[in-house]
Each structure stands twice: as structure tokens, then as C-alpha cells.
């Protein structure tokens, strides 16, 4: 038995619910999924992130049964999915295009899956009402899909895919058309449903904040491959590549030549600039080109010379005011632009820096992370 405090993905004995075993999917000449292996565990909330066209929907469609892998196998609870048609899989999918049945009312759309499995009438009515309630669509139950708004349609699609209480629920950008408030509420609702029902969720999203909020693990994809699969905090704090660091959140990437020192590396990155020191246990060879990735919020901005080892001086080029935080774009004498973020604890009129000010930027030895690919 795995101990309670070990997450299943860290437990080598845990049995995954879904296993992608070296799956490749080609459309003609084009490779949409490239030799991908992945385990997803029961009751996980698994988020897929990646640029448009990287193969997220294709991955989902293979799970749902609408595409079959060109090579490799997909297992659900240890069973090879290949011979099982979509209608026999314990998997429901919310389509990116919603795919609502235009000739049926909202009520009948949601009841569609339940009717196919011959749910008793009373139970069916109760379940559909529950779904209508959850997605706040009670008032629209007897309308047709073309008589409601885009966001409402999205909620119908969500309710329809939830109605059958599937073992695995695939959500392809489920909340994109909702306003921020409703989106957040629905996110918490989804997490709630997930906790209550123990359904495993795989969700595609373009919104990293959403992925960070809801997911137990996040997979970052690029061109049909997984670049990194980890918990949200690891993805954010310890990206394994420049690609992931750049894709998730805002980041300063400083390219330079590494020099090994006892507790990490020194990065020689520009003439007339001090070397930057970073603690790391990554094995980097002397003279290797690598990147130092530092999140803007880990950089302190001040007018007097800081005490720390990593510091650079520059002038403020631009200020992005976002209400709660401001991002300062600081140009160094070498031409590099570095972003630093501070939270706006003071009112805007009393802000300490403005355009053209000369400021110091500094960060600790552990703030950055060294990336060699």
C-alpha cells in the first residue's frame, strides 16, 4: 500500500489509470504526437498546457477513441484501449467546439448520455436537475442550443460530459468562454466535483493560471512531445528547460558562459557586467553556454546599491501597471532588458520609481535556476 503522504506519481508501485506507452500519432506525413509516454493516476486533475497545434486535442481524442495511435498503446486501468470503441469506454469528453445537439433542448442534451444507458426516469430527472443546478442553467433547460449565449453553451457541454459520472473526464478548454469570475467559480466547482466523485480529470487549457489552480500535475507539451510533467510548483519554480520556463509565467532568461565554482556556477554573460552567481547542483561543464532563469518577482528593485552578490544597474525603460503589481523593464548598459516585479503596496502617486530613473536590481544566489537546454 502506498503511504498517504506519497503522491502516486512518486510511488513506483502505484498503478496508473491511464498509461501512454510510446504513442505516436501521424496524420499522413505530419507527426502530431511523437513517441509519448505518460502515466496519469486515479483521481488526478491533470492539466495539458502547450501552444496551439502541439497535439493536446489529438491526445484527448485518442483517449476518447476517435483517433487510434499509429504506434504504441494506451492503457486504461491496465486494459489496452485499442479495440474498445468510443461508446464502450468509461470516458467522456467535453469537446473544444462543444458539439451540442442543435435539435435537442438543453435538458435533452444533458440527459442524452443517461438515456443511452437506460437510467430509470426518476434518477435521470434528478441527475439532470443536479447538473442544471451546478452549471446554473435551470432557466434555460427548455431552450435549444442556438437560443443561449456562448458561455452558456460551454456550460451545457460541461454539464453533458459530467452527467454520466465517467471514470475519466476529458475537458478540452472547458472554461475559455466564461468571464473571469464565473471561470474561477467553475474551477472551484470542478475541483469540488473531482474531490467528491473521485473522477479523474484531464483538462486542456491555454490559461496557465487555471492550470496552476486546478491541477495536481501539469504537463507542458511542445510539437507532440512532453517537455515536463510535474506538480504546478515544480513546473513554476524548477522548470527543466528554457522552453518550460518561458512558457509558464514571466521570466528573465540570461544567456552566458558557465564557470564551475564550489557551490554552483558563475555566469559570465556580458562585457562590463559582473558575473552572476547561482547555487545549483547541476553538473555543468566549464565554458558551457547555459541560461539563468529568474522570475521577475524574485528580483528586488531599489535606488541605493544593494548588499547582495548578484546586482546590476540600469535605467527604467517601461512600467507595466497591473493594479496589484507593477512590472519594471530595466535596460542595462549592455543593452539587456530585465523585468522586475513589485507589489503595489502604496498608492500610485507615491510610487518610488518612474521612467528614466537609474535603479539597482538584485537577487539572491538561490533565486535563479540554471538551465542547460
Amino acid at each position: 500500500m502506498p503511504a498517504d503522504d506519497i503522491d502516486p506519481w512518486d510511488d513506483p508501485t502505484a498503478k496508473p489509470l491511464i498509461r501512454f506507452d510510446r504513442v505516436t500519432k501521424r496524420f499522413g506525413e505530419f507527426t502530431a504526437i511523437n513517441n509519448l509516454s505518460l502515466n496519469i493516476f486515479e483521481t488526478e486533475f491533470f492539466a495539458l498546457l502547450g501552444p496551439s497545434g502541439c497535439g493536446k486535442t489529438t491526445l484527448m481524442r485518442m483517449l476518447a477513441g476517435f483517433e487510434s495511435p499509429t504506434e504504441g498503446h494506451i492503457f486504461l486501468s491496465g486494459q489496452d484501449l485499442a479495440p474498445i470503441p468510443p461508446n464502450k469506454r468509461m470516458v467522456n469528453m467535453m469537446f473544444q467546439s462543444y458539439a451540442l445537439f442543435p435539435h435537442l433542448t438543453i435538458y435533452d442534451n444533458i440527459a442524452f448520455g443517461l438515456r443511452r444507458q437506460k437510467t430509470p426516469k426518476a434518477e435521470l430527472a434528478e441527475r439532470v436537475d443536479e447538473m442544471l443546478n451546478l452549471t446554473r442553467l435551470e432557466k434555460f433547460a427548455h431552450r435549444k442550443p442556438d437560443q443561449i449565449s456562448g458561455g452558456q453553451r460551454q456550460r451545457v457541454a460541461l454539464a453533458r460530459s459530467l452527467a454520466k459520472k465517467p471514470k475519466l473526464l476529458l475537458l478540452d478548454e472547458p472554461l475559455g468562454a466564461l468571464d473571469k469570475k464565473l471561470r474561477q467559480e467553475t474551477q472551484f466547482e470542478l475541483m469540488d466535483i473531482q474531490e467528491k466523485t473521485g473522477t479523474t480529470f484531464v483538462i486542456v487549457t491555454h490559461d496557465q493560471e487555471e492550470a496552476m489552480t486546478v491541477a495536481s500535475r501539469v504537463a507542458v507539451m511542445d510539437e507532440g512531445q512532453l517537455v515536463q510533467v510535474s506538480t504546478p510548483d515544480v513546473i513554476y519554480e524548477m522548470p527543466n528547460s528554457v522552453y518550460v520556463a518561458d512558457f509558464i509565467g514571466d521570466v528573465n532568461l540570461i544567456e552566458g558562459k558557465a564557470k564551475k565554482v564550489e557551490d554552483g556556477i558563475d555566469l559570465n554573460w556580458a562585457e562590463n557586467q559582473p558575473t552572476l552567481h547561482c547555487k545549483t547542483n547541476k553538473s555543468v561543464s566549464n565554458g558551457q553556454i547555459c541560461h539563468l532563469a529568474i522570475r521577475p518577482e524574485k528580483i528586488t528593485i531599489q535606488s541605493d546599491t544593494p548588499e547582495t552578490k548578484n546586482k546590476v544597474q540600469g535605467t527604467i525603460l517601461d512600467i507595466a501597471y497591473l493594479g496589484n503589481i507593477s512590472t519594471y523593464h530595466v535596460q542595462l548598459s549592455s543593452g539587456h532588458v530585465i523585468k522586475a516585479q513589485t507589489s503595489n503596496t502604496r498608492r500610485i502617486a507615491r510610487r518610488s520609481f518612474t521612467w528614466e530613473d537609474t535603479v539597482w536590481l538584485s537577487w539572491t544566489e538561490t533565486a535563479g535556476i540554471v538551465l542547460d537546454k
Partner: protein
């Protein structure tokens, strides 16, 4: 002003090309035959003013309609026409739907070609196409020769001048009218809906019945009406392929009109034919309206 003009235009056509001619036909159907020009009586003459009009109205009667009920020929012809039209529609649906389905499923670059192939027979005159079926179906025709040659039969079959030949002719002629509207509605169908249905537990067959068929209902109904309505009054195909033992109301009408020169009875036949057609269309419209109202309740 513009708006009224837009509304008036279709009503103008409808009234001048349908309502007025129909009223004339009804008026003739209420008169009596007469050897004269025009071959019926009474004739309305406005010279006598009001009394002339009253005189005219008094002479109109339902005699022709009563006559139609007394001679079994007529209702037999109506029934037989209805049966032939209904069967032909069903056959055309069963043949046409798979054709439309195949056309909609095939790669896009082939669709235009197939569409042209469906319309291509219209380049040839309708009469010539029906005549060519005589060449195929007659006792010495191509079909019998092929079957004899293959040894499937050893006596030529009598195909021409049978109901079979009529069904073949009608189905062949009206098939494009079935295929085109169904194709148009299938082509618009979003195939992710079928995937969604399967995802929710439908087999492919039940997804077809629950999603595909209801969503191209409009196309199917349009196709059925486009085949049923002209078939009901069809005259050339039964005359050429059905011989004397195929009774159809179009033929009866033709004979009343041209052979007997009995315009009033011919008009009565036409009026009843129209009523037979209008009733199902009105019922259908009502039903459609009801469904719409349910949706917006």
C-alpha cells in the same frame, strides 16, 4: 416603403401565378360542359349587371364532384396514384439517401464532380430518357438480353407495361430531387456531433438515427415532397412505361381534358388532386409550428 415592396413581390407572384389560376379552375369545375368555345357554361357577362351575376352564380353547382364519387374509375385512379407516388417516394428515399450520404462523406475535391454527375441527366430531354427505358425494359430490350445471355432466365421477362416499369421510370427520373436536398443537409452536418453522441454511449447506428436523421429531417422531407408531389400527377411515365393497365389520375385528367373535352370534370379532378396535396402540407406546417413553440417556451 422598401419593406412593403419586399413583402409584396412574392405575394404578387403567388397571387397572379397560383391563386388566380386556381380560382379559375374552381370556377370551371363548378360549371357544366357545353359544345362551344370555351367548352363550358355559364359564362359570366357583366352587361346585365347584378342580375347577370346572380344568374351566373345560380347556375354553378357541385354536379361534377358528385359525378366523380359515382364513377369508381376516379377514386380508383386517385388511390392508385397515391399508392404509386408513396411507393416511389419510399424507393427514391432508400436509393437516394445512401447516394447523398456517400457524396457528403467523400473527399471534398470529389464532391463537385459527383454533384455534376447527379445533375447531368437533365442535359438530356426528359422524354428521351423515358423512351430509352423502353429500349432497356422491352421484351427484346437490353435488360432481357443481358439476363438471357447470363443464363439467369431462359424466357424473356415482361417488364414493360407493368407497375415495375413505372416504378423504375419514376425513381430514375425523380432521384436527383431526392438526392440533392438530402445531400445539402448532410453536407452541413457537423461530424463532431456524431463523435459526441458516440462518446455519450451511442453505437454508430443509433447515432445515425438519433443525430444524423433528425438533423437532416428538413432535407429528407424536402426530397420526399419534391418526389411525391410531381409523381402524384405524373402522366408521361405511366403512359409510356405503364401501358393501359396502370391507372393514374394524371392520365385520367389528360383524357377528360383532351379526349372528352370535358373541362369541368377535368377541373374537378384537378381541384381534388390539389386538396389531396395541400392537406398533408398544412398538417405538416402546423406540426412544425408546434415544435418551434415548444422550443421557445
Amino acid at each position: 416603403m422598401r419593406r412593403y415592396f419586399l413583402i409584396i413581390t412574392p405575394y404578387f407572384w403567388l397571387i397572379s401565378l397560383f391563386v388566380i389560376p386556381f380560382l379559375i379552375v374552381i370556377r370551371i369545375s363548378l360549371s357544366d360542359p357545353e359544345i362551344s368555345i370555351p367548352p363550358y357554361t355559364p359564362i359570366l357577362s357583366l352587361e346585365e349587371g347584378w342580375s347577370g351575376l346572380l344568374q351566373f352564380l345560380r347556375q354553378l353547382d357541385l354536379d361534377n364532384y358528385i359525378f366523380l364519387t359515382q364513377d369508381a374509375l376516379y377514386w380508383k385512379a386517385y388511390l392508385s396514384s397515391l399508392r404509386i407516388a408513396a411507393f416511389s417516394t419510399i424507393i427514391a428515399l432508400f436509393v437516394g439517401f445512401p447516394i447523398a450520404y456517400g457524396m457528403a462523406k467523400v473527399q471534398r475535391k470529389w464532391q463537385t464532380t459527383l454533384l455534376i454527375l447527379i445533375i447531368l441527366p437533365f442535359w438530356t430531354s426528359f422524354l428521351i430518357r423515358v423512351y430509352s427505358w423502353i429500349g432497356i425494359l422491352s421484351t427484346e430490350g437490353y435488360l432481357n438480353q443481358v439476363l438471357l445471355g447470363l443464363g439467369i432466365i431462359n424466357q424473356p421477362l415482361t417488364l414493360l407495361n407493368t407497375p415495375f416499369a413505372v416504378y423504375v421510370g419514376i425513381t430514375y427520373t425523380y432521384l436527383p430531387f431526392m438526392v440533392l436536398p438530402i445531400y445539402a443537409s448532410l453536407e452541413k452536418l457537423d461530424y463532431s456531433l456524431l463523435e459526441a453522441a458516440e462518446d455519450l454511449g451511442c453505437s454508430q447506428i443509433s447515432a445515425f438515427w438519433l443525430i444524423t436523421v433528425p438533423l437532416c429531417r428538413a432535407g429528407i422531407l424536402a426530397g420526399c415532397f419534391l418526389v411525391f408531389i410531381p409523381t402524384l400527377g405524373e402522366i408521361i411515365i405511366p403512359s409510356l412505361l405503364g401501358g393501359s393497365n396502370t391507372l393514374m389520375i394524371g392520365k385520367v385528367l389528360w383524357e377528360e381534358f383532351f379526349n372528352n373535352r370535358d373541362w369541368p370534370v377535368a377541373s374537378a379532378v384537378a381541384v381534388i388532386l390539389l386538396i389531396i396535396l395541400i392537406i398533408p402540407i398544412v398538417l405538416f406546417q402546423r406540426n412544425e409550428q408546434k415544435q418551434q413553440d415548444l422550443g421557445t417556451r
